[in-house]
């Protein structure tokens, strides 16, 4: 109570300091949420690519950019240690990828349902509707990821247009925080048809639509190192690039951890500024209270007690600033995500961990910043302090 009154006495200065911390924490919350989202994407990818080899055409990347043939699947199946090979066709939902978007772009993803023979371990849950089945081959049906469904504003039973072709929505996924959120899963045949239309006529004429694939997902037999399979593929088939979980982690992981470091760094710098302003506030409030501290010391307050009083006061400043910053960050990330929903770009993922550590950090920052003036105050000679004007 006394403490609150002490803060109240220096209303303007406390308010400014709290605002400084608030902005710093807000930045930390917003950038931290962004980093969380990126992390979730990467982790999703990392989980997906674990224990398998994804083969794309040379020069292509993660199934995009080149054409393979389902015949290659048979070739790879024959290799030592290979269990199942699933051919897939992936393409961007729209060629117009104007503007830089974060995360994965909307994709169309075609493969024969259950072709993996139960080997795929990446967990996907259905919010509504059903999964695709083998019997869907030949019909234009789709399962939409959560973000994409929201973008289309589609329900199960609705019809959506994917690359000028109408598809009936049979299922909608629960959010995974990674790639599937932004993709439409369709039967392989339908995807092959769509893909053909993206190719120049000259190229398309030479291809057999029924064997088109853009990626081959290779599941090794249990206990076989995916790297060994990747080496075998490299050795026996030309014009393809196999990618293992390790490759993914190296390429994507390094890039994103750099990005995350920058994001968190921006947040921390703004906090440092906030921290300096706490030091300033506390130093001034200590100077202002010099005589008061002298009285307290004279009538028996120990150095430790004076120190504790000031440190707690500045920790409370940090805590209040932290809570306000969290509130503001929450509003910004929520509004940002709502705004991005229409274009299926969910930028932020405000986790409990981020919220908690931001507030804890603000409190610790406040306490630490208060420590310097507190130390100074506790060293004052009581008589000198009493005489201070």
């Amino acid at each position: 109570m006394r403490l609150v009154r002490d803060l109240g006495r220096r209303k303007l200065r406390s308010a400014l300091t709290i605002t400084g911390i608030m902005i710093g924490i807000m930045a930390l919350v917003v950038f931290g949420s962004m980093a969380n989202k990126i992390d979730a994407l990467v982790k999703g990818g990392s989980t997906y690519y674990k224990d398998k080899v994804v083969v794309s055409a040379k020069g292509g990347y993660m199934g995009l950019g080149g054409v393979l043939s389902t015949k290659m699947a048979d070739q790879i199946s024959a290799l030592d240690g290979v269990d199942v090979v699933v051919a897939g066709v992936e393409m961007l939902l729209s060629d117009d990828q104007s503007g830089v978007s974060m995360g994965t772009p909307p994709m169309i993803d075609g493969s024969v349902a259950d072709a993996d023979k139960g080997r795929e371990t990446f967990q996907i849950n259905y919010a509504t509707g059903r999964a695709l089945t083998e019997q869907d081959e030949g019909s234009n049906v789709a399962v939409l990821g959560s973000d994409l469904a929201r973008q289309f504003n589609a329900q199960v039973g609705d019809t959506v247009t994917l690359r000028d072709v109408q598809f009936k929505v049979v299922g909608i996924l629960e959010p995974t925080l990674t790639a599937p959120d932004n993709s439409a899963m369709v039967p392989l045949a339908a995807a092959q048809q769509l893909f053909m239309k993206t190719l120049p006529t000259l190229v398309a004429d030479k291809l057999d639509v029924n064997v088109i694939a853009t990626s081959l997902v290779v599941y090794p037999e249990p206990g076989v190192d995916p790297q060994k399979i990747a080496d075998e593929i490299n050795a026996s088939i030309s014009g393809v690039t196999p990618m293992t979980g390790k490759d993914f982690d190296q390429e994507i992981g390094a890039a994103t951890s750099m990005l995350n470091a920058i994001l968190i760094g921006i947040g921390l710098i703004s906090l440092l500024v906030g921290g300096l302003s706490v030091i300033n506030t506390m130093a001034m409030s200590v100077a202002e209270r010099t005589r008061e501290i002298g009285i307290k010391r004279a009538i028996g307050a120990s150095r430790w007690r004076i120190r504790r009083e000031i440190v707690i006061e500045s920790a409370v400043i940090g805590l209040i600033g932290g809570l306000l910053g969290l509130g503001l960050g929450y509003v910004i990330t929520t509004l940002g995500n709502d705004a991005g929903r229409s274009s299926a770009t969910i930028l932020f993922d405000l986790t409990f961990g981020t919220a908690f550590s931001s507030v804890a950090f603000a409190t610790i920052l406040g306490a630490t910043a208060g420590f310097i003036p507190a130390w100074h105050a506790s060293r004052l000679d009581p008589v000198t302090a009493l005489r201070y004007e």
Partner: protein
Amino acid sequence: MAILEGRNLRKTYRLSRRNTVEALKGVEISIDQGEMVAIMGPSGSGKSTLMHILGLLHAPDPNHGPAPELRLAGEDMAALSDNARTRIRARRMGFVFQDFNLVPTLTALENVMLACEYAGIGGKQARQAGLEALALVGLEDRASHKPSELSGGEQQRVAVARALVNKPEIILADEPTGNLDSDRSAEVLALLREFNREHGQTIVLVTHDAEVGEACDRVIRMRDGRIRDQGQRAAAVAAPAMATPAAVAAMAGPAVATA
């Protein structure tokens, strides 16, 4: 029996290399248990400096010549750590300063309770003791007022209540009536006198006021950093046993229990 004894007390303030002020030039002082002593002397004669040393706020200078000695109830204070001295200030001494006495953000009661808190008494007990101490100085109805809402005399009485609340062995008051008109000054003085009579508390006060000096058992006169006159002890120091039953009743309660 002497409760406070000092010998060879010196204090030199060093403003710069050349400019030093010898505030105390070797003082010997002895104050008896239960005595009420006034220290008088011209401005700058070292009265406050002496009070600060007796109150363990300053350590006396280590001398080239004979070493300084300071005893509280026979116990040597010279070698004590800051923490130990702070604890003695909190539990065995009460202070009243000349002008700036109270913490401005705290109410009268909270200011008084601060002394309890530092002496290790908290909660209801401190509140009870604080209210009783305020009642003794006649300010129970001002308990929730801030210093800025009190007159100078009232503030000084709150400071007296704070000095008394823990029933310390010694009360040190540096010009407790300096800012007050003669009526208020007599009031505060009467309060201190009453305490000294009824509870045998030792009181040392600095004053410029000859009337205040006369009301004390003894007047010590200082000049130029030295004691000129140790003063004559008054014949009879009223013993605590002479306290009226009503006054004893007024003091009974938690405050006494924790004394």
